[in-house]
Symmetry: C2
Subunit: 549 residues, 2 copies
Amino acid sequence: MNNDYSLNKARLEYKPQFPSLLKEIVSMNFSVGHVLPAQNEIKDLFPKTVNRPIVTLCKGERKQSAALRVGVVFSGGQAAGGHNVIAGLFDALYEMMPKSVLIGFLGGPSGIIEKKYIEISQEKLSLYRNQGGFDLIGSGRTKIETPEQLEISKKCMEELQLDGLVIVGGDDSNTNAAILAEYFLQNNCSTVVIGVPKTIDGDLQNEFIEISFGFDTACKTYAEMIGNIARDALSAKKYYHFIKLMGRSASHIALECALKTHPNAVLISEEVASEKKTLSSITAELADLIEKRAHAGKKYGVILIPEGVIEFIPEIKILITELNALLAQDSPHLEQIDTFSSLSEKISFVTELLKPEAANCFVSLPESIQKQLLLDRDPHGNVQVSKIETEKMFVETVTTELERRSDQGTFKGSFHPITHFFGYEGRAGYPSNFDANYCYSLGRMAALLIRDRFTGYMSCITKIHLAPQEWVPQGIPLTTMLNMETRQGKEKPVIKKALVSLKGKAFMTLQAGRKEWMIEDHYLFPGPMQFNGDIRLTDTIPESLQCEF
Amino acid sequence: MNNDYSLNKARLEYKPQFPSLLKEIVSMNFSVGHVLPAQNEIKDLFPKTVNRPIVTLCKGERKQSAALRVGVVFSGGQAAGGHNVIAGLFDALYEMMPKSVLIGFLGGPSGIIEKKYIEISQEKLSLYRNQGGFDLIGSGRTKIETPEQLEISKKCMEELQLDGLVIVGGDDSNTNAAILAEYFLQNNCSTVVIGVPKTIDGDLQNEFIEISFGFDTACKTYAEMIGNIARDALSAKKYYHFIKLMGRSASHIALECALKTHPNAVLISEEVASEKKTLSSITAELADLIEKRAHAGKKYGVILIPEGVIEFIPEIKILITELNALLAQDSPHLEQIDTFSSLSEKISFVTELLKPEAANCFVSLPESIQKQLLLDRDPHGNVQVSKIETEKMFVETVTTELERRSDQGTFKGSFHPITHFFGYEGRAGYPSNFDANYCYSLGRMAALLIRDRFTGYMSCITKIHLAPQEWVPQGIPLTTMLNMETRQGKEKPVIKKALVSLKGKAFMTLQAGRKEWMIEDHYLFPGPMQFNGDIRLTDTIPESLQCEF
């Protein structure tokens, strides 16, 4: 019964749903909306691509399109649905004119610079439709930034005679797309540059972008595991599960997973920052929770921790900043620290150099975290925040606090913690039906934006709370999303990372429920993502978006 | 679209499939097969329950059944499908005679001793059908062993006037069921005891038991994650994922997951033992793999590690045995070790006490593993093997080996390892259709075995490679599965844990494929378990069983 069929094959056969507006691709037109004012610095940096209007797809006259030559590139980490962006783009180009050509740059933006690419054929693509990962063409983190890189990219476009380049990426990559679009216009390169919003982290979100693709699948995958673990906790009744979730700085993933599973506690980094919660106050809160549950006869629980939280705890933020300066690439201390053989000597040495507040914070941390802060550094000498085992840090601080309370006689009970980290398993799995449909639509829309030469635009799909047929495709000028921000000491144009809004409906929904979830158990068990059957199970959108409607 | 429906509800509505033979429950009979000889020691220990025949369900005369009073208890760790054993049992009892009563003992076998139980009603049960976890009645690890416990259990049966007791558990719990059945018969207690084979580990398997329940769901859950990670590795092309899998001593789970996902390497503990592989030889093999893949331009990979492997590496096995003796509960060394404040002093102290071979092995281990071996001990002073972070141990030893090769100039490349441990997330999720059907059938069969008073029998379902309607329910006397084994210095009757057979078809299938999987990438992406749609996706049985047919 096995082996002859698989989900892989079943998903290849899936036909993504997409807006009716994107169906008759040859008779589509754009209605031109209003122009949003850009910041002055942005106007100066992007003279050719500012003051462009938002455009919305609408039914129009049948247009004869020439064959188009288009390139596509993935930038940054995996997000489920990437292959469907390519599929949507490919199908739309083919429907406009079968002689169109789609080129995939290999291994990310470095593929443009090094001219490594493949031509994407129907046959090749047929193995990747509705599949996870980015493996058809790969991805990478190279940025096209320097004048030389920009020039080489332009030459690459010209040599390949590309009418358009689609950059699939997060906030930085879309900023990069805006820069490329401007550069090409200024330098008489006719290639249109289009951005597509990708990131599981959910932080590429604003008044124009309802959600980045991959977020839905990642959260559904993590929520499956969290729900399973909650059910295990509820059955075994003896373990506390501390679950760290990927998601970079913002807590969108932790929030969405909390709405999907109702854990006993979830840290929201933005709330930690806003309420200036210290490590010891968070520790005390978690210990209180465990103590209260012990009173109710419960020795188990589920606690969610966003990976970025450590940067939002004020004293740790200060510590990390000081450590980064102290142990920067060119710092003499970096060499000195290597002269000490034992970890405790290294720790004492660094503690001496820190200012009192940071020093206090540093010595209060568990040894394993001190070690990670000192030794796991990136090539620039910066602490690698994402590698810090925050889940273990909280287990250690909470254990110490509970031991203290136990000695004082206030806490009676046992505490058996287990840690988990969910990240990589949510980035490259089969896209949910939503992500499959959404990405395919984004790809089709990108083709139309290229046809009508809207360079420096992002392909957007709006009204995603409706059925896919009713979704509304828009083109948004990337420059309208740009702000100036200080990055590594320099003022740079960037798309602002969206943090969780503490006034947003998603957070409010959490607030309304979380008190009850603490002691009573209201766990939900979302289970494995389903692709077939009742549409209310298979075609859902994220809870945090659903809250908004 | 969200919130109003969920997988939870959808699964409640699922109707498990089961053998046609189990449908007309009132007109079933048993055909009596041959008697299998028991070992002499077993005959002496189980005089009343040896020499019983295997019985197979068949169509018979319509039988009038009296109302039955039955108890059910979960013993040990969670396995998906437990609630369906209860559902099958409940429905069958009700169909025989609506006045039958089903009692669930709470929190495992201690519920029998402490007389903590609930009566299971249709209404209560209706929230747990086809759901994961054991939370309707909980589970526990207490064993009913001492004369006092046996006597109390007998009294409990008599007070509750139970016609039958169904013990849902692994090898130890089913041994316990055999002991209880014998004790009850010897002491004129009329309660029939029936065992049901449960464990995700797959090690409760023999010529009579095709598979224990929960194994299928656990492996499908882990394989989803492994496949997602493999796709991520293939896309990002920069990480080596070392994935440890739950499963206790045996490597059934690792083997099954390997057949489902085709990783670049998988350790099989039984093979490690059989080929007397040392830690350094395994390390060298993994380093070779990474070196060869680097030559092929591949800096990524996926490696599966069964959690029990550390006990099968000969020199570590010796080390653990010596450490267990050295640091036993009543050992003077245990106190002495606490007098040293630093880890390195503790390590030196213990190293001095070990015999040369064990000492050599101990000093060769990474510090973090030395620490776990010394400090993470159970109440008896034994090393807690399952808590040792074997995946990190291999990362450390492989890193060191690659650095050595790099210094020698033989390895050129980068090695970025990431570790994972999958365990708890696979024990309590929604049972696969297979586990849902299988467990429901096991429960129905248990009711019939009680009706016809086959005490000391295990409820078994055979021919599971066929459609559920054609499965064949059997009753197997537990005594035929018992062997004498030395446990903690004493000869005890036990059901032998099934290790992976290196001559079995499942392992042969792995052998046939694994060479190709090493350098070429043949990853499979099973994706999330599906409950609806094509039966070839939703109703599969484990690959390692499929191989047998």
